[in-house]
């Protein structure tokens, strides 16, 4: 019956290999999380504009005008008012602009919020550069306090010609409870 042993050994060996594939695919499932972020960064596709940009020698393309619209929204669970001071701007690619958003905390408690940006059309994300943004850090606000949050940006001169309007939307989330985790997104 030596063959019995060999068949059983072969069965066990193959079963372990297949279980290895299953474990590998579990790891792959989790690896999809950083892969997703890398893909979105490289192709600029989910509207999350990249981190802080350096504003260098200005080359302004005055022949072209792009409309930039600003939207502000508050997630449920955050007792704040949040609105852009200017809703719409006409800009030339390469020009540095400064805009701001107002926030007001209705509640009787200190609340910390985090803004998450989304730019539309998504493919334009690679060409929208922020030199300064309140969304780079979380924003604490004391009870009933208000503030003006600054943001500076320029549109890259390489912006594809078919894009005439950019819509930048911010959503503010309440992260007071999460703060110990030390989150900071751009």
């Amino acid at each position: 019956m030596s063959e019995t042993n060999t068949v059983q050994q072969r069965n066990t060996k193959l079963a372990l290999k297949l279980a290895g594939i299953a474990l590998g695919m579990t790891a792959f499932g989790f690896a999809m999380v950083p892969m997703y972020d890398v893909f979105c960064d490289v192709f600029g596709i989910n509207g999350k504009s990249a981190g802080q940009a350096e504003f260098t020698a200005p080359v302004i393309d005055t022949s072209r005008t792009v409309t930039v619209e600003f939207l502000a929204a508050v997630d449920r669970g955050l007792p704040w008012d949040f609105a852009p001071v200017v809703k719409k701007l006409q800009v030339h690619p390469g020009e540095l602009h400064h805009v701001s958003f107002t926030v007001l905390n209705h509640s009787g408690e200190r609340v910390v919020s985090q803004a998450v940006p989304s730019l539309s059309p998504g493919m334009a994300t690679l060409y929208f550069n922020k030199t300064e943004c309140f969304c780079f850090n979380n924003q604490p606000l004391d009870a009933h306090a208000s503030a003006e949050l600054p943001m500076s940006f320029f549109v890259d001169t390489q912006l594809p010609a078919e894009v005439q309007t950019l819509t930048l939307s911010y959503t503010l989330y309440n992260i007071t409870d999460k703060l110990h985790a030390g989150v900071a997104v751009n």
């Binding site: 079963a15 695919m25 579990t26 792959f28 499932g29 999809m32 985090q114 998450v116 539309s120």
Partner: protein, 534 residues
């Protein structure tokens, strides 16, 4: 050949088996486990069907008749989960257990003890899932696709039971799949080369590979949900830097291969039944194998066609649109081969053949609506409407379930040694055929007109189509009780079946007596070119 062969030498009586409840609890016999899987699947089929009838009762007329919207949502969710993970997948695993060892001349599955585990954890998974319906806050109510943040931030407290039950189902499927692969690779009888295997074995082998590739991803995504809910992670939470769209990517990376997991074994069944009743060998055996493999391969690169409306860049939409349409090519090859097998055959129309032909026709209708949905520009109109519901019910009910029913009628004489009542089998078929179309065909129209899925109430303009669907659904549901009666009647009585009850049938399973003895092929048969399947 395996450990069981060694034991068998000590048994005086070949058909010796343990008795009582312990036979079923401790069994490692592939036929016992196959039987348990099939009965479990049928129980879940009736459970999920009952939920579908509650849904259709509520939708019989516009307005809220019977249920709160939140209960309606739980019904749509749990109906989907029970049918996918409780009815279709275990039914196929049951067929695999019964048939694969007999078809390749093996004495049993390769890992019999694991086989026992993979079945016996399933009832507990579904006990957990269904018990969550009775908990405070209700059961899962976010759709069977459980998109974040509906299932994370806004999920009811019982969601954790749902998560744990998905873990158990996943473990069960992975163990079952490993067992199939090891059996097929290591226990084939001498001369049973890969390209001589019956197509049911081939399609199940490919299905098993899909299972071990994607069930772990499903386990991963529900684990991420669990940590998002309780352990402060932010995989799908935008506030913490995560992204709800990521959930859809990970889910559908599992979800699309999953839909092929639910259809490939049916392809194998049709490829066994159609040649038997056309009395001709299967047309294009090798192309069937390659077509099935290409479908499985393509299933990994089309997942985002489920999410055309999330705001993907144009390049992404085009890639997923063309890749999806490409799947129609190997699928078309298969349909062509089945039709060509029937072409000029000496066909007879016994119940298994009727279900198999209906499978080919109705699955093709589901395939066509799939091609329509694959077109990104028009998908924006179809997305999340009843058109989608019509599409996937056409590929699942007349696809997966008609396939399973055809298999049960075809192999039932082998399993229980008696012939079923042909008259009632045909009644079952014709009622199912009429009602399945009455239920799901009108959904194409209500969907195209804009009726959204997963809603308990709707605009009065959809009232007529919904009334037709509801009447069809009740007819379809009750007809399946007839199926239960036919099967029980066949097990208890009926004319004795010959070893090969179908004139045109091919394959090793027909060389052993009916009912199949408890242990078969303890001495492996030798397969030569003359007695090979194809």
């Amino acid at each position: 050949m395996g450990a069981h062969a060694a034991h068998d030498h000590h048994d005086d009586q070949h058909d010796h088996k343990p008795t009582g409840i312990t036979r079923w609890l401790f069994t490692t016999n592939h036929k016992d486990i196959g039987t348990m899987y099939l009965w479990f699947a049928f129980t879940m089929f009736l459970t999920g069907g009952f939920m579908a009838l509650l849904i259709r009762a509520e939708l019989f007329q516009p307005g809220l008749q019977f249920f709160e919207p939140s209960f309606f949502n739980q019904m749509t969710t749990v109906h989907g989960l029970v049918m996918v993970f409780g009815a279709v997948m275990p039914a196929f695993t049951g067929l695999a257990n019964w048939l694969i060892p007999m078809m390749i001349g093996a004495p049993d599955m390769a890992l019999p003890r694991m086989n026992n585990w993979s079945f016996w954890i399933l009832p507990f998974a579904f006990l957990l899932l269904i018990s969550s319906l009775f908990m405070e806050g209700g059961g899962p109510n976010f759709g069977w696709t459980f998109y974040a943040p509906l299932s994370t931030t806004y999920g009811p407290p019982s969601t954790d039971f749902f998560i744990f039950s998905v873990h158990i189902m996943g473990l069960s499927s992975i163990m079952g799949a490993i067992n199939v692969i090891v059996t097929v690779f290591n226990l084939r009888a001498p001369g049973m080369t890969l390209m001589r295997m019956p197509l049911f074995v081939w399609t199940w082998l490919i299905t098993a590979f899909l299972l071990i590739m994607v069930m772990p991803v499903l386990a991963g995504v529900v684990t991420m949900m669990l940590t998002d809910r309780h352990f402060g992670t932010d995989f799908f939470n935008a506030a913490g830097g995560g992204d709800p769209v990521l959930f859809q990517h990970v889910f559908w990376f599992f979800g699309h291969p999953e839909v092929y997991i639910m259809i490939l074994p049916s392809f194998g069944i049709a490829s066994a039944i159609i040649p038997a009743f056309a009395r001709k060998p299967l047309f294009g055996y090798a192309s069937m194998v390659y077509a099935t493999s290409s479908i499985a391969f393509l299933s990994f690169v089309v997942w985002a066609h489920h999410m055309f409306t999330v705001g993907m860049p144009l390049g992404g939409e085009l890639f997923f649109m063309y890749a999806t349409m490409l799947i129609a090519v190997p699928t078309g090859v298969k349909i062509f081969n089945w039709v060509a097998t029937m072409w000029q055959g000496s066909m007879t129309f016994e119940t298994p053949m009727l279900f198999a032909i209906a499978f080919v026709i109705l699955f093709t209708i589901g395939g066509f609506s799939g091609v329509m949905l694959a077109m990104a520009p028009v998908d924006f109109q179809y997305h999340d409407t009843y058109f989608v519901v019509a599409h996937f019910h056409y590929v699942l009910f007349p696809g997966a379930i008609f396939g399973t029913i055809a298999a049960v009628y075809y192999w039932l004489p082998k399993w229980c040694g008696n012939r079923y009542d042909e008259f009632w089998g045909k009644v079952h078929f014709w009622l199912s055929m009429i009602f399945v179309n009455l239920t799901f065909f009108p959904m194409h129209f209500s969907g195209l007109a804009g009726m959204p899925r997963r809603i308990p109430d709707y605009n009065v303009m959809f009232a007529d189509f919904n009334m037709m669907s509801s009447i069809g659904a009740f007819g379809l549901g009750l007809t399946q009780l007839l199926f239960l009666w036919i099967v029980i009647k066949c097990i208890r009585s009926g004319p004795k079946a010959a070893a090969k009850p179908w004139e045109g049938a091919h394959g090793l399973e027909w060389t052993i007596p009916s009912p199949a003895p408890y242990h078969t092929f303890t001495t492996p048969p030798v397969i030569t070119n003359e007695n090979a399947h194809s």
